[in-house]
Every structure is written in C-alpha cells, then in structure tokens.
Amino acid sequence: MPKKEHLNKVMVIGSGPIIIGQAAEFDYAGSQACRALKEEGLEVVLVNSNPATIMTDANIADRVYIEPLTVEFLEEIISKERPDGLLATLGGQAGLNLAVQLAEKGVLEKYRVELLGTPLKAIEQAEDRELFKETMQKLGEPIPESTIVEDVASAVEFANEIGYPIIVRPAYTMGGTGGGIADNEEELIEIVIKGLKYSMIGQVLIERSVAGWKEIEYEVMRDSADNCITVCNMENFDPVGVHTGDSIVVAPSQTLTDHEYQMLRSASLRIIRELGIEGGCNAQYALDPDSNRYYVIEVNPRVSRSSALASKATGYPIAKVSAKIAAGYTLDEITNAVTQKTKACFEPALDYCVVKFPRWPFDKFVYADKTLGTQMKATGEVMSIDRNFEGAILKAVRSLEIGVHRLQMEKMAAWDDARVKKHLGRVNDERIFAIAEALRRGIADVDEIHEITKIDKWFLYKLKHITDIENRIREEEITPKLMLAAKNVGLADRSIAELSGRTMDEIRTMRKTMGILPCYKMVDTCAAEFEAATPYYYSTFHAQEDEVEVSGARKVMVLGSGPIRIGQGVEFDYCSVHSVWALREMGIEAIIVNNNPETVSTDFDISDRLYFEPLTTEDVLNIIDKEKPEGVIVQFGGQTAINLAASLQQAGVKVFGTSVNDIDRAEDRERFDEVLTQTKIPRPTGISVTNLEDAITGAGKIGYPVMVRPSYVLGGRAMEIVYNEKELRDYMSRAVKVTPDHPVLVDRYMQGTEVEVDGISDGVDVVIPGIMEHVERAGVHSGDSIAVYPPQTLSSKIIYTIIDYTKRLALALHVKGLLNIQYVVSDGEVYVIEVNPRSSRTVPFLSKVTNVQMVNVATRVALGSTLKELGYHSGMVTPKPYVAVKAPVFSFAKMQDVDISLGPEMKSTGEVMGIDYHYARALYKAITGAGMNVPTKGCILFTVADKDKEEMKQLAKAFDDLGFKLVATAGTAKAIQSIGIDADVVGKVHERSSDIIQMIKTGKIHMVINTLTQGSHSPKGTGGVSPRAVARDGFKIRRATVEHGIACLTSLDTAWEVLRVLSFMRERRLVYSLALQDYVGGGDDLA
C-alpha cells in the first residue's frame, strides 16, 4: 500500500524530559521518525519540552514546538497547526498517555486528527490491566493469575487465595513506578497503597510472582496489510523479578531452543495482530526454565527502550520503519536501509552477541536503596557487541564508567569469603561482581550460584571462563596462547596488566608484538548473507578477517559521551551529533565512537563510520591504529571524552581544540588559581587543605558558611555547604579521606546570583552566544537550577564584566572551541566559580534559543577556522527579544529514599524549556513542563529554616494577597503572624490530628515551601540520605510531596518565581504557543 494520500501534515509527540524509565531512546526514535516522515514529503510538527535533544532542532521538523507536554498545550498547537495525523507511539509512555487524553477529551475528533500507528483501542488493551487480561484470555495467551484492585483489602484477599510472593504493578505508569514484589501481607499493603497513588487511573494489578523464570522479550512490527515480523528477541541475564530496564540483557536469546524461540515469537505475532498495531510493539514473557510453560508479562504498544536497543543490536531501524508504516507503507515496500537492496520485511539475523548493561545513579545517591526489583532505577545503559558473550559483557562493564574495567570491584577484593557469598543472594547493582568474585575465588560453583540467583547456568559458565583466565594470568607466564585466550574472553590490556603486575603499555606492546590485534566486523542485519552499505562496526579478537576497509579520505574522530547518568545527559550526545554533522559539512569523514544504544549519535546513518565500542584508551587507540584519523575531538563528549584526552595525546594522537595542557590548567585547582591571578579575575576566597586542623583554621579565616569538596570532583560530587565548625569536622571525617595527595578545598560560600556562560573561542576572538542567570542562588548545583536567558536582573555593568572575564579566561586558557564558565554575582562583584574547557549541559538550550550553531562553529574552530572567517566577531551576540527558561526535572518518584532538597550535588536527570515573549509565561511553561503542579488557589504550607524566616515573611504576604490560605509549622507561623497575616499552625509530623503528612496525603495542602534547617543542609554523604536524616520531619514532608505529586519548593528563590507566575496568571492566558521557527525567525506577533 502506498503512502496515505490524505496525509499532508503529521504531528509527532516527543517524550519530554529525561527521567528514569524514559531516557534518550526517544530522542533517537523521534528524530528518526521525523526524518522518515519528511523524506515522504510530509510536513512535520513536533512537540517536545526537552531542549537537550536532536529532535527539537529546527531542522528535524518543519515546526518545532518546545512546549509543555500537557493536553492544554497540545490542543493549542493542534488548533493552530491543524495536522492530519498524530503519531504518538514514538514519544514513550508520555506520548501514549497524551494521545489517550487528547482522544478522550475529544480534541482529535474536533480537529479531525487521525491517530496513526497504534489504535486507541490497542493502547487501552495493553495498558488497562483488565482489558489486557481479557484480550490475552481471548487469544489463549497465558498470563499470571491476577486481579485488578482499587483498594487494599481486595489485594489482601486475593493474595490469600493464590499465595505469596505477589507482584504489584500500577496501571498507566512507566518504568514500573510504584510497583514491587511482596513476600507477605505487610509488604503487600505498603506497596499497594503506593501503587494506587501512582496509577493515573487508581488501579493496580496484583499477580502471582514468576520471579526466577527466564525473562524474554520480543520486538515485533506490523503493517496495515497485517504483515508481521519480529526484529529481535532478547534474553535477560537477570531472571524475572528485576525490571527489564535494570536487567543485563543479551540479544539474541542464548538459552532457548528453536522450539521455545518460535513458541514465543508466534505468541508475539498473535498479540500484535490482535491489538491491531501498525508499527512497533514490545512483548515480554516469563518462560519456565523447566517446562514449555510461559506467561505474557507485559505488552508495550509502542516504540520503547527495548526497541531502541533492538534497533542498535540488529541494525534494523524500528522507529524509522514504524514512521513509514504510519504514513501508509507496508513492510515489503520499505527498503532495508542497511543493505539498500532487500526490504524491511524480513527478520534480522545476528552473527554476534549483544549485551546491554544498565547504568545506575547509585554513585550519586549512595544511600539510596540499591535493591533491584520491579521499579526501574537505572538512568541509562551501555551496549556492546562481540562474537562471544564473554567479550561483550566485559566491553559493557568497561563502558559503564563506574571505576571498574573487569568484573571486579576493588572493595569486594577486600571482603572475606562469607561476605562475598552473602552478596550472591542480594539482588542489586553489584550482584554480577559478587558472582565473579565467588567464581574467581572458587568459593561457590556454578550450580550453587545458580541455586541462589536462578541466573541461567549458561551465563554463569561464561563468567567462569573469564575468571578462570584471570586466575591463569595471575599465575602463569603470558604466552601468546594465554594472551589470545585473555583477549578472546574480552579482558582489557589494563585488566591483563593489573593481573600480571605489569603496566598497560607493556601489555599493549607485548600483545602487538605477538600480533594479537582486534578485527573489525560489520553490523548488517543479515549475518553477511547480503552485501551491506552500513558503516556500523564492532571489534572482536575472535576472528580471522578484518572486513572494514579504511578510506584514504581526510577524517576526524569524535568521541561520544557514553551512558546517560546524572550530570552527563543527552545534551552531550546532542553535541557529538552536531560535531559529526559539522565535519561532514566540511567534507571530512566523521568517525564516531560511542557505546550508548539509546542515542542519536549511535544511529548508523549519522556519521560516516560508527564504531560501537567502549570509550577507554585501549579501545579507542585500537580504532585509531586502524583508521588513522587526523585527530580526535574530545570537547563534545562530556567528561567521558575529556578524560581520554591526556592518554590519547600521550600515545601520539592529535587532540583537536583546546590542548590537553590547557584542559588541565582549567581543571587543576592550583594551576587554575595561577590563571586567575594572571587574568586578575576574582574567585571566592578559598584554600586547599590536607588536614583537619588547617581546614578549621582556614574556614575560620574565610568565614562560615563555607563550601567544601575534594579537589578532584565532577558534577558536584561530595560537595557540601557547611555552616559551622561542628559540621566541618563531621564532613572531614565522614565524606572525604584527606591526605597530602588528596587535598580538600574550602571555599567561601557566596549566596549570590549564579550566572552561567557558554562561549566559543579561536584563541583570538571570543564569541558569547548568550548568558544565563540562575533563579536559585549559588549553592544549588547549576544543573539543578532554573536558568533564564537572557538575564533578567543583571545590570549592564555586571554583564559587561562577565563578557570581559569570559574573554580573558578563554584567551588565557587558549581555548579552541567551546568553554563554559560559572560565575557568582555578589554585592555587585563578579566572581568565577569554575571553568569547563568543553561543551556543557547548556549548549543545546543556548544553541536553540540564540540560533547560533555553537557546536558547528566550535568544531570548525577546533579544526583551525577562525571566528572571523565564520562571520563572528568578538563579544556577546545581541540578546533576543524573547525569554527562554530551562528547568530541571527530577526522578525522585523512582528513588524512594532520596531527599529532594537541592544542594551542590546534582540530582536532576533531565530538563525542559519554556520559551515566550513574557518571562512569567516562559517560566510557567518551564515549571509546568517540568511536571510541577502549580496551584492557582488553595492552601500553602510554609515550614522554613530560621535563617530564611525574615525573607519568607514578604513571600507569605504575597501569597496571602493572591488569596491562598496559609498554614505553617509553629515557628514559621509565628513569623508570618508577626506581620499581621493569618497562618494556621499545623502540628509536626506525628503530632496526630493535624499531622502534616496526613494533610498532604488527604489533599489538604496544595503546595509546600520548605527550606532546610541548618545542620541538615546537605544530605549526609555524597547524595542520598543517611538513616539519621531520614528520620527528620523535613525529609518526610518532602518525600510525601513527591509521593503525592504536590509542588515542593525548597528554595525561596524558586518560590518567588512561582509567585511571579501566579500573579501573571491573573492577567493573561497561560496557554499560548509559537514554534521555535517563529521565535528565532523573529516573525509572528507578540502575545
């Protein structure tokens, strides 16, 4: 069937900000879909609130709306654009939920918009538990005995009937929010209560637990002619019980017979047919390891995280094909993009093994519960490819950037046998490392580990192959045979070095002398059956033929940013992609190295050559040995790429852009101080100390509060603000190990306005596309602050100073490309906080709103162009007449024991943007887009620290003026009452009747303004919360707001801005949209 003739304009809904359970995979899917639709001559209207994505670039869709993903805004855009069709299946659960709401509200009907891809009925059949059950029963597909409950008593009754363990899943949520496994009644009650809250429709499914069974997934496609194919199947290393997003996954399945493989494949086809989906679908199964019995666990009637993984694992572009199907084509009419000869109507054949490994945020939230269950906790993932499982799993492990390069955690090496064994039974992020440790020591065999973990023995034998070789390397002479065996099981040179007591360089040289080099193979969807055109490669030592031919063209390598994690999100993938595009525009062959399957950068048609490999010195050098590029660009791949700069340069590789030495001058505290002295730029007074006494003396001189942190940190790790000597002593003894080699920095904490600048320099000129002012005062991590472009409160003198300082710093650091600087403005003075000689989190945001192609320009400059040649002159680009606000988005709902209060340690996982000609409306869009429910009336709870009480009074008065009812804890209420305003006193937590938590739970409070009391200012330790802090009232109140979806403002600065929005709301309409093209084009009327 050819393209649907009546379709001219299609609206695509993106997935919004990155949160746990919904990450960069939807940028990949959405960008691919938009491009596929444009290829068909369709006009594409895109709506997504996330500015950090490629899909919200003005060239991806004809009309790009960076607006909140709410029904109100979508209706506004639909009424304006009048699209013929709506494609919502590429925007994750968020997109799907919105499609349902738009249909239910009659918007689609009113504007005659055809829902493309998945029919509404299918969404309901897959998402509504009762309908799902009915549908599966009709098909004869087994599902675990279950029931839908809307109250706790029914849940308990059912559990008593079928017995424990019982799984609880809320309806209409993503990433399993609010679900869990209950082993007894007490646990059941707790989980059900929470699940009911999270469900959009107040329903939870409780069902028989099949924990311990094999978990298998299928990615299926169907077109309007009812042709169905499976793209890929996947097997989870972790048996049922761990959310698939938190599981190590292999593709294809490894331990299934053909019969089992086909049995589940056929079931998947029956399901997608029954649902009538046109596009992609994901089906998850639990397969009994001891019989042919299986259960359907879940069906996602849309493109998902797994489909992004399947696309990268097979080379089959699911999102692209889904978009073509939505436009009317059938699978046999769509060309296989990889072979360019065959059609998309086939099933990919893999001739390699793929491993996906989740990346968890436990390095940031060290006190968070690391137990893995039905609620997803990973922020991102890595993927790896090799000809065997051993090679693939070790590649994955070293791609994680969690300080390991093989299946060994340093801390476990120090554990006694009993402790290692005990950890085998703990289902958490470290389990695979405990298994490897046990195998390495020989304290448990495969059978015993299987008994404890239920992980299939096939996987365990493979891990044992690795540890056996490790043990041999430790004991034997490294012969060529042993070296080859080591490389065949995927051990890195660094690991072999560590095991044999040599250096990595020695091993590398030894290995190369032995002639043991990797071969590169192609991912081609067809196991080499047909010639392929795709430049998508992976390495293996398990081969004879290197099939990758190197071109003689001018080429440059771009290093990607690895897995999505807190502090390094999709922004850096955006930058990598733009750098690749810039190189290609320049006629240079762009080679990208990255390991994140969710991203646009690892889409095989982005670069000239894609190497899906770990970002370590060895893996990158191996590719460089082969490709011999002119040089490497490291400034766009976040800290991941920057960290490789020195070792690559040492190996003789040219690093384009700012030199390794200058990067070090910016990052090393002492050397940076020299730069500041030389440029005469002030920074907050500070000292570097190597013992507690010096810290106390120093802090006394500087004056409390002080900001303390270890000297080598990134993303604000282990950074705290301490208010007195007692806290300082506590910090020094608890959070850091201070030694002469690892000094601690003690800086004056300045409560000023934080300002962030991104600039581009060629060593002569410095272009500043824009300046951003933070709403929250310094002390809150810049990534967690609301940022406003252009600044709203800074005087021209301050701005002039900032421009001047930025120029001076860029030139002093000989920056060639991008740099990011954070300033604090206090009492009319500008101080520099830090300089990052690389692209930053704000580059995509700023590029979009200023219309300066920052990465493109920076790439050209790094390769030798001058800014003048490119048409830029030194100084700040004239600010735009509109305002753009970037607001952070958190995943607190997924991390139960994390304090939501903000501090120097970054906690947000994503961001949204609001843009408008009115600051207040831009702000409204940003905070609405970020998911904050701003109440227009009702009751506000105030509970603030003593230090904030004075400032709070005016705020309370303003809210009172707007007609809000105020309630407050005793002390705060007293302060409010002192200026003659009514505020009811509420009891503290557990003061029974008027308990705050009860009030939040029962919906009597609509917003909370809570600042931290001194002494509890930062959660203890590096992120997360200590058990002591958990017991505090403030923590309980804050968590209660998360669990009940109530806005909780932990900074008075944020509260003032919310107030501004509320006042504005009285005067103007809030829902008003323009496309990005209208803003940057300067056209359209003002609202």
């Binding site: 053909d258 494949r265 001891d290 109507c345 034998y461």
Partner: protein, 356 residues
C-alpha cells in the same frame, strides 16, 4: 587439535578440529540463530559442509525430541564457538558428544562470518576440512573427491512405513520420501492425516495402489536435474490425486510439468526469509534451505502460476497448477527450525484432499 577449512579457490579458514577427522563437501551457510540440531539432522544437507553464521552453537545441547531424521547426513560442520556447557531443560547431551557419536567432522572457533562473506560473493563451492598439519597430497586428494550426485537414495526411507491416524476416516497421504524432515510428517499427522511414507524410487503405480487421498512430495538434498526417473514417476501421478510438494518436491513437480530449475549462487538457508503470497499480497517469514530454484521464465506456456516469490531476490517460492489441485512451495512451512507462519499451507492441502 587445530584444523582448517580449505575452499576450492584456495582460501583457508582456521579453527579447532573436534575429532581427528576430515571431510569433503559443498560448503553452504545457514543464518538461523537457533535450531542447530534441526539443521544438522535435516536430510536436505546430505553431503554438504554446513557453516552457521550465528557464532554461539550448542548453547542448549541436543535432545531426541528435535531430531528431524534418523541421523545427521551432513559431511561437516563449521561453527564459531562450540559450547560444551549447554543449559536447557531439554538438554540430553552436548553438541560435541552428538557430533562425535554421529561421526561428523566439526571445525570450530572459526570466523564463520568470513566464510559466509566468501561464499556469498564467490558462490557455493567445494571445500574440505583437514587437520592443520595435513600434507599437501592429502589436501589435493580430498579436494579431488567429486561432489556426489543423486544423494536422495542415501537419505530416503529404505522401506515403506505407516503412521496411523486417530480417526478412521482420516485422509490418507502418501509421502514420497526424498529425505523428508520429521516435522513435515508430524505437521500432517497433527492435522489428522494417516501417512504412508514410501521410498524415493517407488513407482507411480505402486503408489496409487495405496489409494491415497493426496500425494506429498518431500524435501531432499541435491540437484533435481539428477533425478530424471523420479521426475518421470511424478509426471505419471499428476492429475491423479491432489498433490503438495515442499522444497525438492516442489522442484521435482515443476520439472515433471516441463519447467526448468537452476542453481542459485549461494542459495537461501535460514529462518528469516520473507516470502510474498501473490494472491493476497501478504508476506510471511519462512524457513528455507535450498540451493536450486524453479526458473520463472520456463513456466511460460505451462499450466502453472507463480503463487509465492522471495521478497529478497524475487525468485520463485511457490507454484500452483492452474487446473489441477496441485501446488508446491520452495520453503519449509513445517519450520523446525524457523517460524511457523506458513502452517496454513498444510491446511490448504487438507482442504484440497477433502474436495478431492
């Protein structure tokens, strides 16, 4: 011990030799990711050296249940990793033990992707498996061994046997066994057929004397051109009873009708082959294993129509007699290994028999 695969064009692929054994045969590749046991025991691979593109083989061991014939008829097996720690509840023995027991030379730890790339670009060719230290004379000798033709006689049942049906009035299918896969018989049996399986050299008269309701022409190894006698017998059967052919049976039917067959460059072997049904435009994924195909041009003027084509290369995948109840397909609706999307073809046979 180390061994190697030497192709007749001189290319060498190294690996490890499972048993000290050697082999000569036509080297073909299969892209299926599961089903190594079904592939090994599919008689259509008789005398061939089979290489698998999926590199991890033996993961779930071997079980009697999955045998597609009484033994494996392959001449050699070329794979990546030979897994000797299989894990599955069906597991009865390891793949290595099975290969040893069946006396099949196996070269493992081979870069099978390199082998596949060679064959897909140069075409199917003869190859030998030898130990690393084989003398040149031995290599020359092995390479000189001709590829045996007419191997159907080797794989067919030596004598007639019956598979009873549960119901008395079950349709009676006589299956001509050119190397039939067990699951074809099982699929027909599951649909309620009574089966009589006859050797390949059975005469038309003998066969008709069994009073079949339908005749089934099975899959099997080799070039259909090498089987003129069998073709002659099939010719006699046309028009007598409803008939259904699979793979070699399909080619023999076409030849019996006067059509021609030819050798494909490297054949279709895998579980992911898309086939388009020209009647309704629907595409199904099929399991395939064939090195020869029916020449579409040769069908002109014959009472045959093309019903199915390969989506990948447009070659003929199914034909039907325009007047008589006879049809055949080039691919394997019985799967094992592969997807069971095409079981409907057996249903059609049943309907045909009922309608007489």
């Amino acid at each position: 011990m180390n061994g190697k695969l030497i192709l007749e064009d001189g290319s060498i692929f190294t690996g490890k030799l499972l048993n000290h054994s050697k082999a000569t045969g036509e080297v073909v590749f299969n892209t299926g990711m599961t089903g190594y046991q079904e592939i090994l025991t599919d008689p259509s691979y008789c005398r061939q050296i089979v290489t698998l593109t999926y590199p991890l083989v033996g993961n779930y061991g071997i079980a009697e249940l999955f045998m597609q014939s009484r033994k494996s008829f392959v001449n050699g097996f070329i794979i990546g990793e030979l897994c000797d720690e299989g894990s599955n509840w069906h597991y009865e023995m390891s793949l290595a033990d099975f290969l040893t027991k069946q006396g099949i030379p196996c070269l493992y730890d081979v870069d099978t992707r390199a082998v596949t790339r060679k064959i897909r670009s140069a075409g199917t060719m003869k190859g030998i498996i030898v130990s690393e230290d084989a003398a040149q004379t031995e290599i020359d000798e092995l390479l000189a061994v001709p590829i045996k033709k007419e191997v159907v006689a080797e794989v067919t049942t030596p004598s007639v046997y019956e598979i009873a049906a549960e119901k008395e009035d079950a349709p009676h299918v006589v299956a001509m066994d050119f190397g039939v896969k067990q699951n074809i018989l099982d699929s027909l049996h599951r649909l309620g057929c009574r089966l009589t399986v006859v050797p390949c050299h059975t005469k038309a008269e003998e066969l008709l004397a069994m009073q079949p309701d339908g005749i089934f022409l099975s899959n099997g190894p080799g070039d259909p051109k090498d089987l003129p006698e069998i073709t002659g017998e099939i010719k006699k059967l046309i028009g007598k009873k409803p008939m259904f052919g699979i793979c070699l049976g399909h080619q023999l039917f076409a030849r019996a009708m006067g059509a021609d067959t030819y050798k494909l460059k490297f054949g279709h072997r895998g579980s992911n082959q898309p086939v388009k049904n020209l009647k309704n435009g629907r595409v199904h994924i099929s399991s395939q294993n064939h090195g020869y195909a029916v020449d579409e041009a040769s069908l002109r003027g014959l009472p045959l129509e093309v019903t199915h084509i390969s989506v990948n290369d447009g070659t003929v995948e199914g034909i039907r007699h325009t007047e008589l109840p006879i049809y055949s397909v080039q691919y394997h609706p019985e799967a094992s290994p592969g997807p069971d999307d095409n079981l409907y073809l057996f249903d059609e046979f049943l309907t045909m028999m009922k309608e007489g």
